[in-house]
């Protein structure tokens, strides 16, 4: 069983090596004449203004939390989908209840305005 993972491990190794090689190519062949202006943050030619990392809107955090909630629930559907044919009517009803609970949560988030980006 573990055998089918070896070729993938080798592919991952080759890919990471390729990425490092591409970075190396630029490093070896590119010129390197840094000046203070060149190394300043790029803001379309204006003088950089204020700090680079600042407070971010809280909505992004909300989206991330909702994503984790729903993603975990989507992962629960995968084993069910694989054995769906064997489960028969029992599987359908079980999953209908599960999706219903999911939907209630979704409608709650919707009504609370979690997806509004005015």
């Amino acid at each position: 069983m573990l055998e089918s993972y070896y070729p993938i491990a080798i592919l991952i190794g080759i890919t990471v090596g390729l990425g490092i090689l591409v970075m190396g190519l630029g490093h070896w062949f590119g010129p390197r004449r840094p000046t203070q202006r060149k190394n300043a943050p790029y803001e379309s030619g204006m003088m950089p203004y204020g700090p680079g990392t600042r407070q971010m809107p809280i909505r992004f955090y909300l989206v991330a939390v909702l994503f984790i909630l729903f993603d975990v629930e989507v992962i629960f559907l995968f084993p069910w989908a694989v054995v769906y044919r064997e489960l028969g009517l029992f599987g359908v009803i079980e999953m209908a209840i599960f999706i219903f609970i999911l939907l209630v949560g979704f409608i709650y988030a919707l009504k609370k305005g979690a997806f509004e980006w005015e």
């Binding site: 070729p7 190794g13 080759i14 390729l18 990425g19 600042r54 989206v63 997806f115």
Partner: protein, 338 residues
Amino acid sequence: MNETTGMILEWVIKGAVVAVICLIGFAYTTYYERRFLARIQVRIGPNRAGPWGLLQPVADGIKLIFKEELVPDKAYKFAFMLAPVLTMAPAIIVMGVVPWGTQANFFGRTIELGISNNLNVGILYILSVTSIAVYGIVLAGWASNNKYAMLGGLRSTAQMISYELALGLSFLPPIMLAGSLSLGDIVKGQQDFLWYFIPLLPTSIVFFIAVLAEVNRSPFDMPEAEQELVAGYHTEYSGMKFALFFMGEYVKMFSMSAVFSTLFLGGFAGPFVEQVPWLGPVYLLIKIIICLGLMIWIRGTLPRFRYDRLMKFGWKILLPIALINVVLTALMISIFGL
């Protein structure tokens, strides 16, 4: 040469071949896109380097190698270097589970076409690997220490994780029809039955839209919204580091087209593929080229979404439709007994 060294050599060669196919696919996807977009906009496109401009991608690559690479003074150096590799690598690694064919003879040795065709968690592997690319984008935006890069990184992260839900749900109907997570079994299921895009047309459309958002393609190309953000998360990247981000995007287009073809368009299946196994890769490539053409056509036709509408579309329309598709597929299987 004993059996173990033979197997390891075979895996290394297959890995290298797939990586090279992805790189050539990347180079010629850019060429294909520029020529096709030019035709849509009644221009000619690149036609100077080599016959019909076929050497244009090579010229671009060589040009980027000799460009200066800037690292901003205030950047977080290690994360800044790590981000491009982290964005590019998953795009190629996804190809590890896509089957290119069944067994074939290669210089008297029977090999499996594809790296790990029958990995029993194939679809979960695709989902988890594509999620890694999000880390690359967050890191790139944050490590640049530039406010536009930061905003671009946040935006594309929020977009990618929102559409990943619809993508994850759209993986379910083919699994239910095939009864397996392995892509080899899904292709086999389509050979026995029908190409899944016929019974699962709504799912395949949702899947395609979610893929467009996942690879940050137009009309969801928020990171490249030049009018609002300078260039999104890769504002501060130049030279080969920029090339890696570019590569990540196009290789991901290529590999997600391969996944789409495998799930919905029959993968390597086609006429006479049982008799001549080497036709498998050819059929898969043809299907990938058709999917890529569709993506480029959409880019040439549709304007960009506004960001708030994009998020609303993903959460309020695409996610419920994907969920309904799962329920409908479940009903379809139990009522018609497919």
